[in-house]
Symmetry: D3
Subunit: 177 residues, 6 copies
């Protein structure tokens, strides 16, 4: 039994993430999707709560017909302590034997603990990017909807996600200053 | 769509918990099993890690033939701050409209935030008890295996859980004293 | 200008506390009432939130005709680090030159940082006791209302405080076990 | 009874803040001034401790003849967890029904929890700005004293606040590098 | 090169600890003495600060003529997270290949991470016990001085340690109640 | 007896640090080297763990023939709370009467608590700089080895420190985005 963990922030979960998940499901038996920075939300970099992101991922994988016993989605709060982060994942997640990432820090931390690394290939990388999608939302460009799975569009519309992002971008901060 | 959250420590997940889960699945569409005190393990009260407990629950529900899209299992660390604990759950879990518990604190906290409460009936309460099961493990009484689902026995045996509990119970603490 | 700090949990604020406050106001210019363990609530030992406790104290002192510019009431969260606790108070409160307490730990910590200590005399100590008042609430003995200032009774009744305490005392914990 | 909370860092409390407080006191019965980032001090962005900032605000409002029973000033430490921040304020402050802010994040967070928002009008916004006042202090421009209430000048001079800020701005960091 | 870590609270460092240290120095090249619960002090169980405990150990080993390059003494704060505690030690201490302890939890945690365990033999265990020494201090029995190395007596007398412990044992807690 | 504390991150410990240590040992009896930001590692700014940094310093001072009873090296985690940071150092370190630093924040914090400050002179400051050494490592310029003591080179080579830094600098972050 091969179990892989894929850590990410998924702000939001987009088609690049979905392709990575599918690619990984062809290479392992079970996949743990770790929704990192679970405590972060309501910022331009991290607009959605962990609960909202988990819902996006679940509904997408359900619609895609993925075997649900082969995936697990878990919220993971930051601990701000790189050298013990992998041990922390080991403690809150079922045992895994490899990790999937293209993030250099993540790769290095898993390697130093002896894990093998899976690097999903990039799919239309310039388009499938959280930074780009959030920017499109801010600028009123509705084409972001083509870059995420349909259920993600539904979740974001249901929670008023684009409106939230735009409100957060307003810069009148006289009180705080 | 009705979604319920059932918070618990599940040290370990036993037949009482399983009955509660089945009872709840007859009353809601989706059930979030919140594995609380996720940071705790290796004590007499909390011998198993969150990852181990999640594995116990997953394998049990898989074997029971539960529809996996109707359940979600998530590790939840303690925040030691009762009055905001429900808000904390709201942030890391998909939205829920009711909570299942027989714990007075849990019930009170959800009620004060306006949630309705589901109280699963007790099934052979004296037997199906985490305290009792852990005590049987300590005392070498193998009948604890009759009080938990088969997959839980397998996980505990695989990780050497009974041996762990017994080692932790030794009381020679000269160095720490 | 002499400013004194009186740290306490005030669960709830009772007549013994009120006498201590008045005694202190005769001996200093300003009094900072530090509402400690601000993060704790909804337990048998700490039933009320910091916000509720602050309201009790404010309304009591308002009714007593205390000069409001001579008092300040502040929520103070625990830091679980005794040897720096006084420095922590120094950072979040206006400067003070003495501390009022009968608690040996509190007295010792302030003394080691060079503060002088004021020890308000005990007034009907067996009666004016948080432990006793909470026990009376649990046991349905309405005489607790004679042991706290009237505005405290009003706050507790308004928030359903007695009902909260009684619900928390129920001991059926099958789910958590 | 209408009670409003106004969260801010007040580094330092300036005339813009004072105008906002007065405007709010014309629209509610009581005002809670939440001194946020209470754990921060001794940086260029946050030079003053929470205790120092509370003192500035108290002395200003005392001098302005504000009714002290209509205001409350409380230190509030950051929790770095946006989606539960409002619940956190609810737990440590007396109950409030609206919030005053021009900060988009603060406004959004209160709105999502169902609070109404009061937006005090801007008064000479370019001048009354914490950023600007701190810059003037650094540059030796004593006109910052015209932008804050007199008691704030006194507190800052008493604690050597301008000297502190200037010392912190020195950039010789060979040891840390 | 064999390096061993010995974790303990050392409240205070007594002759049993000293014997263990010497026994270990005969079996490894370097010994890291981890002064745990570094954040705790001023309680009956943990009267001394980490700084005070480190001083006790340093002065004792200096007087005993131990080769200082073969030992290292480090303060270690609790993390309250058993399953990652060993990883945490790995991050803040130089690399070690074994651990010395008679504490069942410590032994188990190191074993699960693959470390070998050294168990120093017990020396006059009933006498050399932190619990017993602290009780003797409380009861005014000066024979505790025979159970700790001379430099430990000197440190404790210098800081007024016995007086601190006795003050902390007073039980008049009317203000906190 | 004069004991001084020198706080630093030592990422890595370089010849400038070594000169400062020697200069200080000529002016005090004992020197505590506080390895700050102990929880940080595996970033471009903070590549090495506290354990690795302690090892670098120990091996350097051993080779330099420094009297080991005159130095102490301790890991110190950040608390992100400037105004109580000195109290925190007081609690985990043996008592000290002065602090050595050229960092304005550090100097200010110690001064406000009444400590005297020692400012070691700068030695070839442009060269002996952590920022510069880390940049040289990244750029493949082996001359960094001339800027740190030989034992530091050995530790860094033993742990693959340069390779770690270079891997962390890769910028392909598609999964995290």
């Amino acid at each position: 039994m091969k179990r892989t963990v894929i850590p990410g922030r998924f702000q939001p979960f987009h088609l690049g993430h979905l392709h990575a998940v599918k690619w990984l499901l062809n290479r392992c038996d079970e996949l743990i999707i770790a929704v990192c920075s679970a405590q972060k939300s309501h910022t331009l970099e991290n607009p959605f709560t962990a609960g909202e992101r988990i819902l996006m991922i679940r509904e997408t994988l359900r619609k895609e017909g993925v075997d649900p016993w082969r995936i697990m989605i878990a919220p993971v709060q930051d601990i701000e302590y790189n050298s013990i982060w992998v041990c922390y994942l080991e403690s809150i997640l079922p045992p895994f034997d490899s990790a999937a990432s293209r993030n250099p820090l993540v790769i290095r931390l898993f390697k130093e603990r002896g894990y093998s690394i899976l690097q999903p290939p990039l799919t239309r990388r310039e388009e499938y990017s959280g930074v780009r999608i959030r920017r499109m939302m801010l600028e009123g460009d509705d084409d972001w909807k083509k870059l995420v799975p349909e259920p993600v569009v539904e979740v974001i519309e249901h929670i008023g996600g684009v409106e939230r992002l735009r409100e957060l971008a307003k810069t009148d901060e006289v009180i705080r200053g």
